[in-house]
């Protein structure tokens, strides 16, 4: 990511040579202001803290939410910011999960090492498949991402001696986190570990989307044809963000493995890819908090409603999705922003 601005400048140079006036540094203050942390954000990040004391019995659910939020963040980078449609993002989640699981099973149980390894594997596969995915139209992309994910699913399903197949991968033993914190029965370590990783990676993602690189992604999403004209290497940027999203998903998968000490085959399932997209859309695409809030709402609703009746839950999930697409395309964050705007107008008539 660090070298991206340099790339950008080298593309701009021919333009600058023709018009010497334009070498004056542009005013970046509005961008800096947009990148500054605001009060609601700080309050938002107090939620995990409060939740810990409020719901000490459901720490495993809370960790699940944090992990899924990280996964939603990863698809937000790809879909929300860069506009690459994907139906197979679980591929990277699953890769990360299996990578971390297998590493731990064969004796390297250090959690952070597992995260790094999972991220490396997902990054490598994400980078390689990005060239397949970025060809063609939306429909082709949907199908290729889907196909890649299904291939991995089938591979994991059939490679029973290696992955455990439908029975799942067992025997994942984690050592102490940082050599100090053991994974306890109550899931305290697992919870703080997941939240910490989520926060750090969120912070990084936040830096990225407010960087020139992030701006160029939004530009590509808005108008692919014009971005090359202002000197942005579209293909390179998309490859980079797809790889980044894959790495994030890989880390999320690894977290799931490490906190549950088990890998089930459904980490790669189609429904996981579909559901994570729903969570993002529910929260609002193209907005990092949209991914987090969507996940929290979805997982909480799922927890309570599916206890009532799983089919019931699925029906209302479908109905909610249809309604969102028809009436609230920008999700919860969009609704919140509109409400906020209306309140502001009322306050200053």
């Amino acid at each position: 990511m660090v070298r991206e601005p340099a790339l950008h400048e080298s593309m701009m140079r021919p333009l600058a040579a023709q018009a010497p006036e334009s070498t004056v540094a542009p005013d970046l203050a509005p961008l800096r202001r947009a990148a500054a942390w605001r009060v609601p954000e700080v309050i938002f990040w107090l939620i995990p803290l409060i939740a810990y004391f409020l719901f000490p019995k459901s720490l495993s659910l809370l960790s699940q939410i944090a992990i899924t939020a990280l996964f939603a963040l990863s698809i937000d980078l790809i879909l929300g910011y860069a506009g690459i449609v994907t139906l197979g993002h679980a591929a990277f989640f699953g890769l990360g999960a299996y990578a971390a699981g297998l590493l731990a099973k064969y004796g390297y149980g250090d959690p952070l090492l597992g995260l790094a390894f999972a991220a490396a594997v997902a990054t490598a596969v994400g980078f390689l498949t990005s060239f397949l995915v970025l060809r063609g139209t939306d429909l082709t992309r949907l199908m290729v991402t889907l196909g890649v994910a299904m291939m991995l699913f089938e591979a994991a399903n059939k490679a029973t001696p290696f992955t455990g197949g439908v029975d799942g991968l067992q025997g994942v033993e984690m050592t102490r986190l940082l050599g100090v914190f053991g994974f306890d029965l109550y899931g305290k370590t697992a919870y703080w570990y997941s939240v910490a990783v989520l926060f750090v990676l969120f912070w990084v993602a936040r830096r990225i989307v407010h960087s020139p690189f992030g701006m160029s992604l939004r530009g590509i999403k808005q108008n692919v044809a014009r971005m090359p004209a202002i000197g942005a290497p579209v293909h390179g940027r998309l490859v980079a963000v797809y790889t980044l999203g894959a790495a994030y998903a890989g880390v999320a998968g690894a977290l799931l493995t490490q906190t549950t000490q088990f890998v089930s085959l459904d980490v790669l399932a189609f429904t996981r890819s579909a559901e994570i997209m729903l969570m993002l859309v529910l929260g609002g695409t193209g907005c990092l908090y949209g991914a987090l809030i969507g996940t929290i709402v979805f997982m909480t609703a799922h927890h309570f409603l599916s206890d009532l009746n799983p089919q019931y839950w699925q029906f209302w999930l479908g109905a909610a999705l249809v309604l969102i697409v028809l009436f609230a395309r920008d999700g919860i964050m969009g609704i919140a922003q509109r409400l906020q705007a209306r309140l502001a107008r009322r306050a200053t008539p």
Partner: protein, 285 residues
């Protein structure tokens, strides 16, 4: 030989179901992942008519198709038409939502179990030739598939309605200016797509089984057929479906360890080299 024949039959069945999707997705440019739900409507209608009402098979299948078409018209009128101009992503999300609702509804009314399905006597059994076992039902599927291909090709390619449809898809505004009732054409086309789905669903119960998970379980296959065959292309879909069927059956018979891996690999490779499908034309979107 038997493998090839079974593959052909499975491919034909896939084609029967997916050709409806080829119509809605390909001709109307709507990514309708809920296609399997329409097929399921047809499947349930057919299975229930057979088992509860005792209606003969050959009559139950067209009724099933009509039921799916009716569902299609209602949904098109109320929901789908709002999304014709939406992005592909919105269409995907919308139709996944519909899928979930369909699955839950089927579960609610019919329970999670497989529906019992008994073929009429004249479609049971096998013809045994040296080196080749032909299931009569499979032969029946192939015949139906061939008839349908010819009929559809004729409908879209050489009738007034087909011409209106192609015009309405290529440029709705100009088509409207020429006095074509675009809304009606789209509704009819969507009904056609749903009817084909229902027909395929009804015919497929015997081979694919029928439970509430049907729309999600097979949607990947239908999408593969359409994506590989090239959107809006009946010939391409047929070829893709047959190829897929043969590869799938051959893969499962000859190298069961690999399972469905083969068809996904075939699809990805195909899409990489021919993103537009076998006979696809470049799309503008």
């Amino acid at each position: 030989m038997t493998i090839i024949f079974d593959g052909l039959a499975e491919g034909m069945l896939l084609f029967l179901i997916s050709v409806g999707l080829s119509v809605t997705l390909g001709l109307m440019n709507f990514v309708n992942l809920a296609h399997g739900a329409f097929a399921m409507v047809g499947g349930y209608a057919c299975a229930l008519l057979l088992s509860r009402a005792g209606i003969p098979f050959l009559l139950a299948v067209p009724i099933a198709a009509a039921a799916a078409a009716l569902a299609g018209v209602i949904l098109e009128r109320t929901l789908y038409r709002r999304l014709y101009t939406a992005s592909h992503l919105d269409q995907v999300l919308f139709s996944i939502g519909l899928n979930f609702m369909a699955v839950a509804t089927a579960h609610f009314f019919f329970g999670a179990q497989q529906q019992p399905f008994v073929l009429p006597d004249f479609l049971k059994g096998q013809i045994n030739l040296p080196g080749l076992d032909i299931g009569i039902y499979r032969l029946f599927l192939i015949v139906v598939g061939v008839i349908l291909t010819v009929a559809l090709q004729w409908l879209v390619g050489s009738t007034r309605f087909g011409a209106q449809l192609r015009a309405a898809v290529d440029n709705p505004r100009v088509a409207r200016g020429l006095g074509i009732n675009v809304d009606r054409v789209f509704t009819l086309t969507f009904a056609l797509g749903s009817a084909l789905a229902g027909l395929g669903g009804a015919l497929g119960v015997e081979m694919l089984g029928l439970d509430p998970g049907f729309p999600l379980k097979y949607i990947v296959y239908f999408l593969i057929v359409v994506a590989v065959g090239g959107t809006g292309n009946i010939k391409g879909s047929l070829l893709a479906a047959l190829m897929l069927g043969i590869f799938d059956v051959a893969g499962k018979y000859l190298v069961p360890q690999v399972g469905s891996f083969v068809i996904y690999a075939v699809m990805v490779v195909m899409l990489i080299f021919r993103p537009q499908g076998f006979f696809g034309r470049a799309t503008t979107r």
